[in-house]
Amino acid sequence: MQALTNRAKPVDRRPMTFTEKLYLPAIAKGMVITFKHIFQKKETISYPEQKRKFSPVFRGLHVLNRDAEGRENCTACGLCAVSCPAEAITMEGAERKPGEEHLYREEKYAARYEINMLRCIFCGFCEEACPKDAIYLTETFAPSNYNRESFIYGKEDLLIPMPGEKKKA
């Protein structure tokens, strides 16, 4: 079989020499490596007291955006769902009725919009695909939970609150 890298070495199966049989030099060598790491810079941090800095392009939890007048931007065009490699997004569209113009920006809107956060891989393709600036990935880390049901995010979880409206406690 052809080796994938040239780093593979055949195992040395010769009998051990006298110094090797003593094991003491090998133990000392190992201890040197161990103690060396005490004085080196730590790679771990004490979460949650300390937090790592996020990259400026960090992609966290999704939000559904509203326009300046508080109307929902999403028109249920399905481009986020079609671009989603994990097939996490589903939606159902509906037509805006007369009198709902203050709620939805266009004549069609998403009556249901759902992201399965168990499937989502936070690739941000939905954000890129969105022609209406409706979906954004925030810098908030997706919270963990003990049950799976809470990872199905509906429209009430994703949509940002109306400007001026107090969020329910």
Binding site: T75, A76, C77, G78, L79, A81, V82, E87, T90, M91, E92, G93, A94, E95, K97, E100, E106, E107, K108, A111, R112, E114, N116, P131, K132, N147, R148, E149, I152, G154, K155
Partner: protein
């Protein structure tokens, strides 16, 4: 009179083809097939008199004929120009044609609202394809686009005049398929619009075909309006014995699970229907038990409709139930209990017309 018909030798982009006299350049190119076929927005082979409106099929005739080898002075509409013996045509090999086509696309898009995210035609729209293949990235148009209110032509067809490119296909369809034509083009030039006499409803048994022939989303199916995007549906070939003698009953069902979201005629690779279907098949038979399903429809790999439709999948054998003595693995969560989408009590395909907020109340 068993004289053999003389065939005309034509060269399109250097590819020779022999066609009957009277064939148009477009149809000669279609006999060759492939990339050299000029796009057509208004020409429809099943409709007499169609073509010559949209100018997307412009080609360069570099040699008029064997008898008169002079090139034609201007680009010609290939759907309207018949071939001559020895004619040489340049389509994609001519930069002039590609440049002109880019301009034509720009003109077609001048008054087009670009509301593809809302439009039900998105994903199977010829203007989208044309703009993608031939158009420029951005618009240079700074003025107000034409605006119209959406019009209900009958209770099953919705007309969005803003999206119309005035190809006249629907007018020809109504003229040639149905007994009475009730709609036409009113006004001239920039003011022209498809309309009926004082918004009279169109109710012929074949009028639904105007939805299929419309190259853009100007005429759309109201029973399918906003219910789903075409690329989330699974097209299957189906047929039924239609009582209407003029209807072939051969259709495409657009399914999601067992729900029939819409019924259309079968379209060939040029987006033209193979045979027209009646309105009973199109609008009223929205259950799978009305149809005999033949099998999944072959969708071009480059079409967005082919997404999520895996062809030739071999499903590996699930050994677990065998190991567990027929017991199914314990479900950690049933998505259908939690998900608000696809609720069984909201049957979108059964709702007349588009869904509204009260359909989602519960």
């Amino acid at each position: 009179m068993a004289e053999e018909k003389k065939l005309f030798k034509v060269k399109i982009d250097g590819i020779p083809v022999e066609v009957e006299p009277g064939t148009t350049i477009l149809n000669a190119a279609r006999q060759i097939g492939g990339d050299i076929v000029p796009p057509a927005m208004c020409y429809y082979s099943k409709l007499q008199g169609s073509g010559g409106k949209c100018r997307t099929c412009l080609v360069k005739v570099s040699k008029g004929s064997e008898a008169d080898p002079r090139p034609m002075p201007k680009l010609v509409a290939s759907c309207r120009t018949t071939v001559m013996d020895g004619m040489e045509v340049a389509n994609i090999t001519s930069p002039e044609v590609l440049e002109a086509r880019k301009g034509v696309v720009e003109f077609l898009l001048l008054n087009h609202p670009l509301d593809c995210p809302v439009c039900d035609q998105a994903g199977e729209c010829h203007l989208q394809d044309l703009g993608y293949e031939h158009g420029a990235d951005g618009t240079r148009y700074e003025f107000k686009r034409r605006e119209f209110e959406k019009i209900d032509i009958g209770d099953k067809i919705q007309l969005h005049m803003t999206r119309c490119i005035l190809c006249y296909r629907c007018v020809f369809t109504a003229d040639q398929l149905t007994e009475t034509r009730q709609h036409g083009i009113l006004g001239r030039g920039e003011a022209s619009e498809i309309s009926t006499y004082i918004h009279k409803s169109l109710d012929n048994e074949f009028i639904g075909n105007v939805i299929d022939v419309c190259p853009v989303g100007a005429l759309t199916d109201k029973t399918f309006r906003f219910k789903n995007r075409v690329w989330f549906l699974k097209p299957v070939d189906a047929h039924r014995d239609c009582e209407n003698p003029k209807c072939c009953g051969k259709t495409v069902l657009w399914l999601r699970g067992d729900e029939v979201f819409r019924v259309t005629a079968r379209k060939d690779k040029y987006g033209e229907v193979e045979a027209f279907i009646c309105d009973t098949c199109r609008f009223d038979k929205k259950e799978t038990k009305d149809w005999i399903v033949e099998g999944p429809r072959k969708v071009d790999r480059h079409s967005v409709i082919s997404q999520g439709q895996y062809v030739g999948v071999h499903k590996p054998k699930d050994a677990l139930p065998e190991v567990l003595d027929g017991r199914q693995p314990k479900l950690m969560m049933n998505i259908h209990n939690i998900s608000q989408v696809n609720r069984p009590e909201i049957d979108l395909s059964r709702i007349e017309g588009p869904a509204h907020s009260d359909d989602f109340k519960n």
